[in-house]
Subunit: 217 residues, 2 copies
DNA sequence: TATAAAGTTTAGCCTTGGCTAAAAATATAA
DNA sequence: TTATATTTTTAGCCAAGGCTAAACTTTATA
């Protein structure tokens, strides 16, 4: 079994990947000193889970990726399970799952997945990898990449930052929300979208973390 | 926050206590070498969580006890929660809770307790300590201490050993079971109890882990 | 293109929580 | 009561995963 630290490194490299993950970014995401990240990356390379080109960056081997996706699967199943049974605020889900994901046995993972009917997405819309790390190719596109006036449906919102999540939710933006881009204000730094009965300005940095699909009626 | 190891030591000392917990017993329960247990007991003594009289034994300080009971609370809430939502075998519950208990935030602990309606016992009948470590004085008595022919109701069964639990369950013995001791065979090593429509012989070692109350109609 | 800045790695240290082997204390039996 | 067995502790070791300070690469700038 991988330690909590190893699981967190693998998951973080996956999140920052797929290629040339910078030591600094990794260290920052994990809240450790850059030197600590270098050392761990080297250890993971020894173990065959990571490929590291010094001064260039790190990436996962296929075994490393499998294990990273196993952590992601547990995380997203837990978020879904907690959201369904208890009702915690969406913002709390991430942090709780973050700790519990390392303590979930394969049996409990399976029991939860079955209980939930083997869902394909978590409450934030993120796809849940299969038991062997299969990640459905998803056809979601970035809101920031869409053209004006297309009818869109939100599929994924970022869950890293609770405040952002609260803001999005407060403005009616969550998986399932229908919207259209009505204008882009590249110099003003955002895009304007219209919802059913309101409109919001969204920073590009945020829009590039929100995924949508074209509405099909 | 206490580490996983510290939480496990505190919980184990509580389970083996209240007084003069032997290094060897502690080491055995935790699956570590006796020398490791000695060292940790000393560290916990430094931290004011344990009182240690060398060559005599260890016991918890009141702060140590508070923290141990917090772990026990999380464990038992988790068992109850998992039993209620998923349906895992009673034997699986213990092992899962054993790992998850260390990853439960106070907020999630509270959310689970509320969801369950702040239960007083877990599925094995063990009392659940309150949020500040209050443990209701319970009036349960040991099956092994009861007299013949009293009408008894099982309140607690041990959850340490899955096989034992399965055996007890297979013989109809779980919280709520009504039974009577019909004979004791001290030299044969067991007691004979009669249930509604069967009778079973139970080893003294087992009967001294089963709690009952006198039936009140 | 030389030099400064930024990012990365190395070296060396620390704590936690394990281990074994040996020494010391306590308990048991002759 | 002395000798032996058992239990506990001490001493010294190790790996994991952190840290800081210094050295080394790479990138950006003058």
């Amino acid at each position: 079994m991988d330690s909590v630290a190893v699981e967190n490194y693998l998951k973080s490299i996956w999140e920052l990947g797929p290629d040339d993950v910078a030591t600094q970014d990794l260290a920052q995401l994990l809240n450790v000193a850059p030197a600590s990240a270098t050392k761990m990356v080297q250890r993971l390379t020894e173990r065959g889970l990571v490929k590291h080109i010094p001064y260039k960056g790190a990436s996962l081997t296929s075994e490393g990726r499998r294990r990273a996706l196993s952590v992601v699967r547990r995380h997203r199943l837990l978020e879904t399970f907690l959201a369904q049974t208890l009702d915690l605020g969406r913002e709390q889900l991430h942090d709780e799952a973050e700790r519990l994901e390392h303590a979930l046995s394969t049996e409990l993972e399976t029991a939860i997945a079955n209980y939930l009917g083997n869902p394909e997405r978590d409450p934030h819309g993120h796809p849940i990898p299969g038991p062997n790390g299969e990640l459905l190719i998803d056809e979601d596109i970035l809101l920031s990449d869409c053209s004006l006036n297309q009818s869109l449906v939100v599929t994924q919102v970022p869950d890293r930052d609770p405040n952002l999540l609260t803001w999005l939710e407060g403005n009616g933006i969550f998986p399932g929300t229908k919207l259209k881009i009505i204008s882009r204000d590249d110099f003003g730094g955002g895009i304007n979208v219209s919802l059913d009965d309101s409109s919001v300005q969204i920073a590009i940095s945020v829009a590039s973390e929100v995924y949508v699909i074209l509405e099909t009626d």
